[in-house]
Symmetry: C2
Subunit: 508 residues, 2 copies
């Protein structure tokens, strides 16, 4: 009897734990809706109440997670020797709990209030091209982040600890190796492209493109790709983003009347994020089994649709007629459109406007600088020069201003250090996943050309989405592709694609 | 020293209590945003996650309110003999706390889940004109509400207890007296109007009115009245409503292309609600001093703008040119427009489409029926007949279907019994407040005609909005108008207005 009672108690512990997780998810989901609303719908005067609502919800979910009872339940559940999906729930919850519990609430609040102030200062500093005005906030963030890492684990490289906030289940060393491979291949490849005589079309989309027609095109393309409007929306915000869960996942974009490709590609990118969230198992909403894997996997989903699909020739075969329907003045051929969408920019200093190749060098610059900042090898005051030197060295361009240089991104103002590498990891992973899908789907390229995305969707749902956070990143990639996570697919892909575009010598 | 320490502890108790109230308000505010989003923006598939988010937030705010600590803090603060605004905070919090703490959590949850099921059943029953399909849910609601009232106070009339959920600081007896006065005057007045030979214009707005142009007109009129777009929005929803706080208060409306007056009047009505919320003191956001008084006062604000302003001849002088700008085909004179906006309908069975007179008899019917249901004097199965008989008796019309009869309103499906009377109380209060404002503002009628609303806005802010929930309803009305809350202003107003319109004998 005593044993039965103990067993029942243990089973209850798992039920109580998942109920607690569902409540935490609900509160975080509510914050997500409030955040979406703030960026998309809220009148500007609403800020004071909204800030209060968001900070209360965030402290409540933090309290629920770090509550003693969470620890007790985790201990009790770990006694049960659960395996399969349940053990993944415990693994993920244990990791989050330990990290959250290790950091004092006051530090969390200080980081959050520093972020609010730093964001305001960054916006102004960027507008005024005044790095010095932002420097003290960056300094403070770096100090707080070191302190944070110290709480989590005083014995490890603090940057490694920070990186794990965005990619907890891939060793930093692996990220480093991949970034080093990218840098090693891409720097000379870009040099060669710059020296190439080939005349790649760059102006297939010149002129003025009405924002409403662009929006209609974005909606057409979302429908073509398979966005489920019963579970989503498209809106406009100053920075495109995706927000939501498996029942309601919304995308935003922005329209520049001189650059229709920008909005189109960003819409497809956000579609990839949303399509991932919408593919998470509905029956597991509220536990890690119903949540997405971390940022590199998430980025692999957005990049796969943006790059592997959206920048393919097959896709331009499909989409150019849709573009022409909205913009009858466009008279580019499919090849010209494809070339324009894949041109390697000569002198673009801005990450979010970069092509598939230069993009990773933008990331490498940031990675090297933020690592050196956190380790103390670089002082905040020396960031602008380090930034510009690295741009010159890797990309052959020197930003004219800090606004177009080290002030361009919001991440450091937010206090996000260790986030950038996941962008490159995601792109690399996207290629590996797409190659695996191509191997299993008969004539995937032809299907893209015909707008038949069902097989690709099914493959992604089956191999990535339905697992939620059941597998760690490595394991997930290996399950899906049959091999370890590797940069080789990406390097082959770009060598072949850009070799053909720019008539390069085979070099990988 | 001991006394100093005790004093400090007591002061801390008040600070801790208000901080707790601010957190509760923040969570309720978050629910408000989620509710607005659900009705205005959310894709239909989002329901499962949204329901979970809303129920978690509502149980969290209930837990925070009924937490033992809230009771301890209230006890400690009441020892302090605070007066002025602080005593109002304690009075309001004590009332809410006692009521919430008296009701078991399971009953709250059961009422809430019954409401979800009943709402779905009601929608279908209304669509199918099938009262019997809805009857079991109504039955269940009535039982649960009796149980609820029993928990709150077993010694009082349960309907009285329910009424206090919507109007906690006005005795039900007063509401009854006022409704009886309205019924006594309006039934014969409407009879007389029906018998009148006067030819009041009813068709100033016939034809088809494009929804986009109606929306533009609604925006024009909101701007004319003084809606602050930095703190608000206008959107479309299937039922018009207002949602928000003093920083961000949004209105919705709906457009019927054959009835432009409906949307216009409903927009003005919601403006009144929003203008009240936006006038609440910002520095008190989160405590009762920054919250609106209850439903009858809230309705007084919406009705004042809708009826006293929006259905006045002066307003039609002002607004008809705006209407014509959007709808050049409208060729009615100001008098004709005024008459159309004030016609007393011959055979309208629908409350939300009623005029200023018949409206209150729609309310009286509901009030009498819900009282009899709760007391047990009327069985659920007999509701349709009782409804139709009362409509025949008071309004001289017999609804052709239950869909147009006792199934028309959402309130009972929601489980709201005791809500309806606040609509009439609000209209009555609106007249009294407007008369007081007219007495203090030089030529208010002329100012309305010129679109100069600043004095009226200031008067409402000064006499109503800025007080939040500091005063109870009675006290607030007396402060603002110099006399007790009374129906006499309303009765004089309608006697004069409709006497002139329909050439009636003076009868009040």
């Amino acid at each position: 009897m005593a044993t039965d009672a103990a067993a029942a108690e243990e089973a209850d512990a798992y039920a109580e734990l998942t109920e607690r997780l569902e409540r935490i998810t609900a509160v975080q989901g509510a914050s997500g809706v409030l955040g979406w609303d703030q960026q998309v719908m809220m009148p500007s005067g609403g800020t004071p109440a909204r800030s209060k609502q968001l900070s209360v919800l965030s402290s409540m979910s933090h309290e629920m997670l770090t509550d003693e009872r969470t620890g007790e339940l985790l201990d009790a559940c770990e006694e049960l020797d659960l395996d399969g999906p349940e053990s993944a729930v415990l693994r993920e919850t244990r990791r989050e709990y330990e990290r959250a519990a290790a950091v004092p609430g006051e530090l969390v609040e200080e980081m959050s209030s520093t972020a609010s102030e730093a964001l305001a200062a960054w916006e102004e500093a960027k507008a005024e091209d005044d790095f010095e005005a932002f420097a003290p906030y960056l300094e403070r963030h770096v100090e707080l982040k070191r302190e944070y890492a110290e709480h989590v684990d005083p014995d490890r490289d603090p940057y490694e600890v920070l990186f794990e906030d965005y990619e907890p289940c891939l060793p930093l060393e692996r990220a480093e190796d991949i970034l080093a491979e990218l840098k090693g291949t891409l720097v000379p490849m870009i040099d060669e492209i710059r020296a190439s005589d080939v005349d790649v079309t760059t102006d297939a989309f010149e002129g003025t493109f009405d924002a409403d027609a662009q929006e209609a095109l974005s909606r057409d393309v979302l429908s073509t790709l398979g966005y489920d409007w019963e579970h989503g929306r498209l809106d406009v915000s100053s920075h495109p983003f995706t927000s939501g869960n498996q029942f309601d996942c919304r995308v935003t974009t922005r329209f520049d009347e001189s650059d229709p490709l920008g909005a189109l590609m960003s819409t497809i990118h956000e579609f990839g994020h949303a399509f991932y969230n919408l593919g998470l198992p509905r029956e597991h909403y509220g536990t890690p089994l119903g949540e997405s894997r971390d940022l590199s996997v998430h980025e692999s989903q957005s990049r796969l649709w943006e790059n592997q699909v959206g920048r393919s020739r097959a896709f331009w075969d499909l989409v150019l007629p849709e573009v022409r329907e909205r913009f009858p003045d466009v008279d580019a051929s499919v090849d010209e459109a494809y070339e324009s969408a894949n041109q390697v920019y000569e002198d673009n200093p801005i990450r979010v406007e970069a092509d598939e190749l230069t993009y990773h060098l933008h990331i490498v610059v940031r990675f090297e600088i933020e690592r050196a900042l956190v380790s103390g090898d670089l002082d905040v005051e020396d960031v602008p020069e380090a930034w510009n030197d690295k741009y010159e060295e890797y990309l052959g361009i020197r930003p004219g201003t800090d606004a177009e240089g080290c002030l361009q991104d919001i991440h450091w103002a937010h206090g996000n250090f260790g986030y950038f590498p996941t962008y490159s990891l995601g792109s690399v992973m996207a290629t590996q996943l797409y190659d695996a899908a191509s191997g299993e789907i008969d004539d995937l390229d032809g299907k893209v050309r015909e707008g038949e995305f069902a097989d690709l969707q099914d493959w992604l749902r089956e191999n990535v989405h339905r697992h939620g956070a059941r597998y760690e990143t490595d394991e997930l990639v290996e399950h899906a592709t049959g091999e370890e996570f590797t940069a080789s697919h990406f390097l082959e892909y770009v060598t072949e694609k850009y070799g053909e575009l720019y008539d390069l010598e085979e070099s990988v």
